[in-house]
């Protein structure tokens, strides 16, 4: 009797669970943040007047970097994103009616950007940062829509995604959205200044900083309690950009705003994905906007007139044999460009003595860069950094570990805790 009762309860639970899962899958729990009045199309005159501002909003949202491949047609998509579940390609968002968004309505565009649901109810993958763009104002989304519609159509077909089952079922994103998509949008914090509020809007919504700098949970959703505290991304650390993290790297609010503008500072040169962020986005942002972002990241209501740079970290002692070996390596392979005292060469090579990668908790970025090098790079204002050679064939794991430990301890004030095995892992691409 009891066993039968238990069985009944169990069956009931399973049925309820299945019904619930079915409801989620059907999208019944999805909540659109797009208002009803967006169904009203924009008039041609409105489209025209919005397009110009939309160009700037699209720059701040860095749409171009992902929706255009190197040397590819503008806004035609096709950039691959390698994920643990397979490869996703960015899509054509030019005004082409067949391959792009030419026949998307205003409301369809809003729902794609802010709800992650494209034309015809097709779910977008969160490689498109709709979890961040959700916080965009309807006015800004309208502006981007008007701007993109003013771009020439590009007849470039979208490559098919290469995703494994079950991730190739777009409707499955309903579960991800339920777990990871905030239901609320951002409202103005009346206790803070307009500058702070603008900065927060830029950081959270348009520039979508958290997509890389906030660590993700098992389902790849951003962890709110670790907001902007830094995350591992394709083998490299997107650093902690909270006030503490920025200060640790040696930034002041002014230095950070300047770094976003030029890509260069005493802390180093923008590298990896941030190089493209500067290239396509932040170098074109207004000084007011960069100042606002910086003020917000430092938790300030306004950018202070001047600020004392944080004191350089106190050197940490290193074992004598490690220091001797590492100094020998440094003098032989690094000093000709980075300088005997790590001072670098202005306009040519970044300094190391003040370099942010030596001050991060993890040595991964430093080791990865030393092993693999960096190509020659152009920066705004005719600046050009020479290529950094790859040393993976020159340094063995022990030499690399000693060098990283010595540099980080001497200039970064970080404990010399890198082991040869750590280098071996990074070398393998882990």
């Amino acid at each position: 009797m009891r066993a039968r009762k238990l069985l009944g309860v169990l069956i009931l639970l399973i049925v309820c669970g299945a019904v619930l899962a079915g409801c989620i899958f059907a999208g019944l729990f999805e909540k659109s943040v797009v208002a009803k009045d967006i169904d009203q199309p924009l008039l041609p005159d409105q489209m025209k007047s919005l397009a110009q501002r939309g160009a700037y909003v699209a720059v701040a949202a860095d749409c171009y970097a992902c929706h255009t491949t190197t040397g590819g047609a503008p806004w035609a998509g096709g950039l691959p994103f390698k994920t643990p579940f397979g490869t996703i390609y960015s899509t054509n968002i030019s005004s082409d009616p067949d391959n792009g968004i030419g026949n998307w309505s205003r409301a369809e565009f809003h729902r794609a950007v802010r709800d992650g649901v494209g034309k015809g109810g097709r779910h977008l993958y969160p490689a498109m940062p709709y979890a961040s763009y959700r916080k965009m104002t309807p006015e800004d989304v309208d502006a981007v829509y008007a701007y993109l519609m003013s771009r020439p159509p590009m007849k470039v077909a979208n490559p098919a995604n290469e995703l494994t089952f079950p991730f190739n079922i777009r409707q499955g994103l309903t579960f991800w959205n339920l777990l990871n998509l905030p239901s609320e949008t951002q409202t103005k914090d009346a206790a803070r200044s307009d500058v702070w509020n603008r900065g927060r809007y830029l950081v959270d919504a348009l520039a979508h900083c958290g997509e890389c700098h906030t660590p993700r949970n098992l389902t790849q959703g951003m962890i709110p309690s670790d907001y902007l505290k830094g995350a591992l991304l394709e083998g490299l650390f997107a650093p902690d950009i909270t006030k503490d993290g920025l200060t640790r790297m040696g930034f002041t609010p002014q230095l950070l705003a300047g770094f976003m503008n030029s890509g260069l500072s005493a802390q180093g040169a923008m590298t990896n994905q941030m190089y493209e962020v500067v290239h396509f986005s932040t170098q074109y942002m207004t000084k007011d906007d960069l100042d606002a972002m910086s003020a917000y990241l430092f938790g300030l209501d306004a950018l202070p007139k001047d600020a004392t740079p944080p004191a350089p970290p106190k050197p940490v002692p290193v074992a004598a044999e490690v220091a001797t070996a590492a100094r020998g390596t440094y003098v032989a392979l690094c000093a000709a460009c980075h300088g005997a005292e790590g001072q670098g060469i202005p306009h040519v090579v970044v300094p190391l003595a003040t370099n942010a990668s030596l001050r991060l908790t993890s040595a991964r970025n430093l080791i990865h860069t030393t092993l693999n090098g960096i190509p020659a790079r152009r920066f705004p204002g005719l600046e050009r950094m020479q290529p950094m050679p790859a040393f993976k064939d020159v340094l063995d794991d022990r030499q690399m570990a000693d060098l990283a430990n010595w540099m980080r301890a001497t200039w970064g004030g970080e404990p010399p805790n890198v082991k040869a095995e750590d280098v071996a892992e990074i070398r393998k691409g882990h």
Binding site: G328, V331, A336, C337, A340, Q386
Partner: protein
């Protein structure tokens, strides 16, 4: 001011250099010029870009590696076997040149260079490339791209690269075993 010195011993062009006091921070290029009077490796940019200063390091496994001497410290070469452009040709007992290396000969035959400043680097680079192909031959169809990729880091400012390129392709095709059928 006195420079901190350290003993350095290495092999250059087959000759063993006995331990000698060399400043710790001295670059290899300066060591070759000032201590060994070997001025063939050219100082170009001084920051590792132009590759006019490269030399060959013969590894214990027999493989060659190209190193830039303007940005690499002399002491990095301690105990290693180094070949500068002066060490490529065959010489008789008196030190007179009896035959150029195949790469050198090909550059002459193709009129590859004009002012010649970048040539030591190209000789080094092409010799290392041939050594790599000996170990790992390429398909004929991939040869042109392989040459470009291997030598594009070398900068030449007067003849353009076509005659260097043609000379290297010619000498590779003439040398058995570098190209797969």
């Amino acid at each position: 001011m006195t420079l901190a010195m350290r003993k350095l011993s290495l092999t250059v062009n087959g000759k063993t250099i006995d331990p000698i006091d060399v400043p710790e921070t001295m670059m290899m290029q300066d060591f070759l010029y000032e201590y060994l009077n070997l001025t063939g490796s050219r100082m170009g940019c001084g920051q590792g870009i132009c590759h006019a200063c490269t030399v060959i390091v013969d590894g214990d496994d027999g493989a060659m590696r190209e190193m830039r001497t303007c940005i690499t410290g002399a002491h990095w070469f301690a105990g290693k076997k180094v070949r500068t452009v002066e060490g490529h040709a065959t010489r008789d007992a008196s030190g007179a040149i009896t035959a150029l290396s195949p790469v050198q000969q090909a550059f002459i035959e193709h009129f590859s260079f004009q002012c010649g400043y970048c040539t030591p680097g190209f000789v080094t680079g092409a010799t290392v490339l041939m050594d790599e192909l000996k170990r790992k031959p390429v398909r004929r169809a991939d040869l042109e791209q392989t040459i470009s990729e291997a030598l594009e880091k070398h900068i030449c400012r007067c003849t353009g690269y076509v005659r260097y390129f043609e000379a290297v392709r010619d000498v590779i095709l003439k040398t058995p075993g570098l190209v797969k059928a």
